[in-house]
Symmetry: C2
Subunit: 360 residues, 2 copies
């Protein structure tokens, strides 16, 4: 067995320790005589798994008591509909469009009411976060929506927008648990787990209780009502049980690393290694405005598409995988989530230096 | 490590061989240097996994070319909405209500149009399948809906209903791949995989192409449109990738056993052992009309709730797990899906005989 350094944007690298435990428990979870995959979601053993996962997440994020934690299916893409269907009481919502995913969320909301694009960075290929200190927030907006870390473009809101008192809804898929967060500033904070937390197929929604109501838009499917899932502690129907089990292991792993403060320090250290090199490199250049850089996703280019392709190919041969940038940006992208060890980033920069020397 | 015989109704027992392979590949899938959980769903390695899974399923079920195979999320419960949202062009659908799941599907469809209950077996706690040879199928029905195997009540449609030319939609969650099936008789045949195929969090929808249209009900979320998933080969967004990988392994395992003919033989043999004993037992009694018995789920009672509880407790101590019946039926239920070995059923009957001798 030989492991590569996997810079995939998602699904993405998971802690080796977590995978080892999962492998060990695959045929017999803690003496139950069965795999977690084979376990009734109504069994005592599984009840402990999902309750512990929630408790650990609450502890890690310091989630206030008036927030529910829901483990759902369908990814962020399904939340794009679920959010307006549950929250658009006035049928008005404001969207800040900082990338492809925020744009998709905005377009989906337009099916259900008046979605306003109150800011955007599309004019410069989403390479920055707009100034959100004084936006024209709609008076009757049910919420203001952001995608907090933009996986494709490598930007991050380092300051939350001024929503002028309106509920903030944030997709944190690609920065989930990467640093401490003040949950009380949000109405909903949610994300697919397949970047920083677990296997694809689980989306975690942290939602303030007053936003969970019977009063959804007409035609909302039962499975798309927050209230159904909240009332049933995420067990209205069979949940993505194995995925939640892996998430739970990752929560414990993060706790062992020292929690979100420690994760932040670890992530800042890794990102600094890469950004510092990009800032001094003669060949490679970051594509994002400095003050808006993400700690998680680092796009960069040489300026020459052929050279980019050569880099990606040779990096792969050196055990540095999935460095190709998203098709809409081109170039390269290194996703350096929580589980990427510092050695992975060091190896990457070492390789970039070597490549620069050979090709510059 | 010691494995129990797990009679859970779902999530349920999986082939030990499949779990062993998954454990072995957990940290390094076939030399990729990563777990399938960590793999981009757009990677070559994953493309092979999902394509092979589909090809193997097509081969096993002999799926005609004019049917699409979709790997989706949200379970059968989400299909309860997705089906009417996509198929109810006339806003009329007929439901045959043979259990709790068919009833829930019927109720959900009522949100979207006129759902007619054209037959039901609720009068006798769903212990039989109604005669469906000449039902009052609505002239403008967009489809006729059944739940083909009723997990809770242990009944199975051994003859498909006469839909008088209307499209048949069938939930086969608890009999998926348990015997050969003529897919061409259905418009949609679908099921959650967590009973006979894989881990919870994947639902497989086999749908005739002419039913996949742009013309969905107003307000249908993008993620609930069959066309979006069909056009993107189940990769519109990140799929439940690890779950699909396990399903693929189970498909290969079934092929190795000899396909669905062999599965049927195996399942009939197992079921006969249990039903034959129930028919001669002085203590235990099956709850289902004989001609409607399921090969997969076998409910039985002693007629004495205390004795039932004693049986479940002592069986568990003997390594026979999850035999408690559903709360709406009481008594016991043995789910004996594909992956339950014949020895499991033999051990169960042996234990029942011993219990009968001690308590009768």
């Amino acid at each position: 067995m030989s492991r590569v350094y996997n810079f995939s944007a998602g699904p993405a690298v998971l802690p080796e320790e977590v995978l080892k435990e999962a492998a060990d428990e695959m045929l017999d979870y803690k003496g139950t005589g069965m795999s977690v995959m084979e376990m009734s979601h109504r069994s005592k053993a599984y009840d402990t798994i999902i309750k512990e996962a929630e408790a650990d997440l609450r502890e890690l994020m310091n989630i206030p008591d008036n927030y529910k934690v829901l483990f759902l299916q369908g990814g962020a893409s399904q939340q794009f509909a679920m959010i307006p269907m549950n929250l658009m009481k006035n049928k008005v919502a404001d969207y800040i469009v900082t990338g492809q995913w925020a744009k998709k969320a905005f377009q989906e909301a337009s099916i259900y009411g008046k979605a306003n694009k109150i800011a955007s960075s599309e004019d410069e290929t989403f390479s920055y976060i707009p100034d959100c200190s004084d936006l024209p927030v709609s008076e009757d907006a049910d919420y203001v929506y952001i995608c907090e870390n933009n996986t494709i473009y490598g930007t991050k809101f380092h300051t939350l927008p001024n929503t002028k008192g309106k509920t903030l809804v944030s997709d944190v898929s690609s920065c989930f648990l990467s640093e401490p967060v003040d949950v009380s500033k949000y109405g909903i904070i949610y994300g697919g787990v397949q970047k920083n937390i677990g296997p694809a197929g689980v989306v975690i929604v942290i939602i303030r209780e007053d936003l969970i109501t019977e009063d959804t838009l007409p035609g909302t499917p039962t499975m798309l009502k927050y209230k159904i899932h909240a009332d049933n502690d995420s067990l209205y129907n069979t949940p993505p049980a194995y995925g939640i089990y892996i998430c739970g292991k990752v929560f414990k792993w993060i706790k062992k690393q020292g929690g979100l403060e420690a994760m932040k320090e670890h992530n800042e250290k890794k990102a600094a290694i890469l950004y510092n090199f990009l800032d001094e490199s003669k060949l490679f250049k970051g594509t994002v405005r400095k003050e808006d850089r993400s700690l998680m996703n680092v796009p960069f280019v040489t300026g020459d598409a052929e050279l980019d392709a050569k880099f990606v190919k040779e990096a792969k041969e050196a055990g540095l995988e999935n460095l190709k940038g998203h098709r809409t940006v081109g170039g390269m992208r290194a996703s350096i989530y929580n589980a990427m060890p510092i050695e992975g980033v060091e190896k990457l920069v070492e390789f970039m230096k070597k490549f620069e020397a050979e090709n510059c």
